[in-house]
Symmetry: none
Subunit: 216 residues, 4 copies
Amino acid sequence: MTGEEISIEFLLEEDELTDKQKKILVAAIESFSEKGYAATSTNEIAKKAGVAEGTIFRHYKTKKDLLLNIVAPVMAKLVAPFVIRDLDKVLNKRFDTFEDFLRAMIENRREFIEKNGQIIRILLQEIPFQPELREQFKEHVATRLFERFTKVAVYYQEKGEIIDIPPLSALRLTASSIIGYFIAKYLIIPESEWDDEAETERTIQFILNGLGKGTK
Amino acid sequence: MTGEEISIEFLLEEDELTDKQKKILVAAIESFSEKGYAATSTNEIAKKAGVAEGTIFRHYKTKKDLLLNIVAPVMAKLVAPFVIRDLDKVLNKRFDTFEDFLRAMIENRREFIEKNGQIIRILLQEIPFQPELREQFKEHVATRLFERFTKVAVYYQEKGEIIDIPPLSALRLTASSIIGYFIAKYLIIPESEWDDEAETERTIQFILNGLGKGTK
Amino acid sequence: MTGEEISIEFLLEEDELTDKQKKILVAAIESFSEKGYAATSTNEIAKKAGVAEGTIFRHYKTKKDLLLNIVAPVMAKLVAPFVIRDLDKVLNKRFDTFEDFLRAMIENRREFIEKNGQIIRILLQEIPFQPELREQFKEHVATRLFERFTKVAVYYQEKGEIIDIPPLSALRLTASSIIGYFIAKYLIIPESEWDDEAETERTIQFILNGLGKGTK
Amino acid sequence: MTGEEISIEFLLEEDELTDKQKKILVAAIESFSEKGYAATSTNEIAKKAGVAEGTIFRHYKTKKDLLLNIVAPVMAKLVAPFVIRDLDKVLNKRFDTFEDFLRAMIENRREFIEKNGQIIRILLQEIPFQPELREQFKEHVATRLFERFTKVAVYYQEKGEIIDIPPLSALRLTASSIIGYFIAKYLIIPESEWDDEAETERTIQFILNGLGKGTK
DNA sequence: TATGAATGAGTCTTCATTCAT
DNA sequence: CATGAATGAAGACTCATTCAT
């Protein structure tokens, strides 16, 4: 269930990308994630990339096009670990309990976030302002995530491990906790005060108890 | 424990505000929340407010000043229900169980959000880009929230209602669930598919079980 | 039948125009007529007008808007002498013969051209490239000119002064000769070689004989 | 007196032209005539020609060079039917009357225009903006046309067919009528409303009467 | 010979802010 | 207090031209 991660490194090792093109991407990602899309000028990107301003527009028709080209591949991989053929079989084989599933999920996405932190930050920051992004997010992330998670939820509900609530509600509560965990870890709480192992464990137990049926 | 809500209406009934000033605020709030701070021009605000562009700058030194003046009072009230004297006594008197507390909290903040939705949206959208906002948020919201919630957590931990984890962890998990609830309700899920009462209940039970000690 | 001429001077004495606005118009007219619309930069206009570049766009939404605002009023007046109420009566009273009519027409338009030469030049140069201009020209000039000239032609045809050909043909031949006269006078032939009175006379006689019925 | 016409086809069958070069010419002619020289980008020409942008500049030093290379040969042929050795003899033999001459001239130039319409359009549109073009036009067209037409005019004046006015005036009046005829036919009046034969005849008669001496 | 990536000066346009009225 | 004309710096984007391959 290890999704094929996309990382900036990976992105930049694409054969099709010119050397300059890679520099443009790196510079844009850095600036966008630091100051936001709107507050970053193409001039600034060009300078940081060591490239003429015109070169940016040779490769990306508009500034927005550049943004979308940065964010799209990462968005596509956001739900990767869920998009597996024969999900049921995989669950059967590899995730005996909902706990196993949760643990794998968190671990997997943690790696993903560590590799793509900047781009995810850009995605989160710009989604309110870019309708195209929102559309793509709905289509490629939200819908598919819900679809797959429904199967997972039903699977463990039938096994009697989690309570009978609508899958959407289960998804909401699970996702809140996990995303909240990541936001705390990566955006809010300084590393010094964060005991990763313990917090992971608390989060998993919180979800398990929250959705669990019975006695601890 | 009903905090003194700030609402746009309230904001606009301030005696100190000129009629024009109120119109400017309303126009700015509307535009900022719809298109974002960066994408809103002062010219546009002036037109929508039926005011000359110069008038805006007579009341607010800069555009950013206008933003801060909109967001600051709401930010101050974000944690209002927590900021009470003699919190212990209040807990004693009014919130016999953690469940009572949670329920009151959610209800109270729901009202607040319904009155101040636009401004909260602005706050969320701009926090990544405005260091001043982030600073104010930390100082007036995060710190105080943590401080007060610690007391609450300890109170119910001592009563044996919730498990013994660091208050910050308890806060993180509780807040994740509640904020996730509000984000789903107000930003993601269309009203038609949202059964408010049931979802509230599920959220409360999820937190109670998640942090609860024992048998259900 | 003296149309109310529009001249640059007149244009610039409009009360509604700011001082800066007038300077912008003068500068734009000069540059457009010399180098053409496409080859004139707004920066250049601003400098020549002694105005900030932004000021141009405060008064004219786009560069094209500026062009149209220059050309439109002149275009409207191009056919002015034809657009008279009770054309028949006027012909009756004031232009006993087609010759009188021609002579008056040429004299009147000569004055017009002398006052509005630059703008007419712009009009001629840009009509091939600006569909809006072409449209306006058709609507406000061509159609109305044809309509009125038809009455004139029929009037003198009925009087037996000019031959019975379709008015459109008569218009084409008359206009060719007169416009050709003006183009030669103002655009091609250096003043030194041009005997105005004689050439005017030759042109009139050429048209009269060309369209005339009978013996000289 | 049939001038050796230059047509696009002819132009393109030149042996010295590469295949790519021909494609560039065709593409450039099409774009220049449709949108004007200034509004056509070399990039666009390259795409339309199926050629790399650099290739254009391998054959034509600059964009303006390309324009001149398109327009120059056509300009050279504009006055072709006049540039004949022993003009007097030819007139003697082939054009007994001024009417014969006019008729042949119109017919001949009509063919020329039909073959080279696009390029002539480019010439007309760009002459106001390109001093080089204007210079070439004066030198190769205007001067020679005037020179030759003078002989023609004198010839028929001596025969008593046309009135005694300066040849330049005769040229102006004749040319106005013929060019006006072509402009109406090709640029202004929609084909449906144009009776070619009749209009040609009217134009010829107009000129003949206009310049003629006596009774019809 | 042909390519097409790269350039950087230049284009039109927007915008927050100022200031005389 | 309020206005709105004026500013000029900055923005995204275009384009003819060059040059290494």
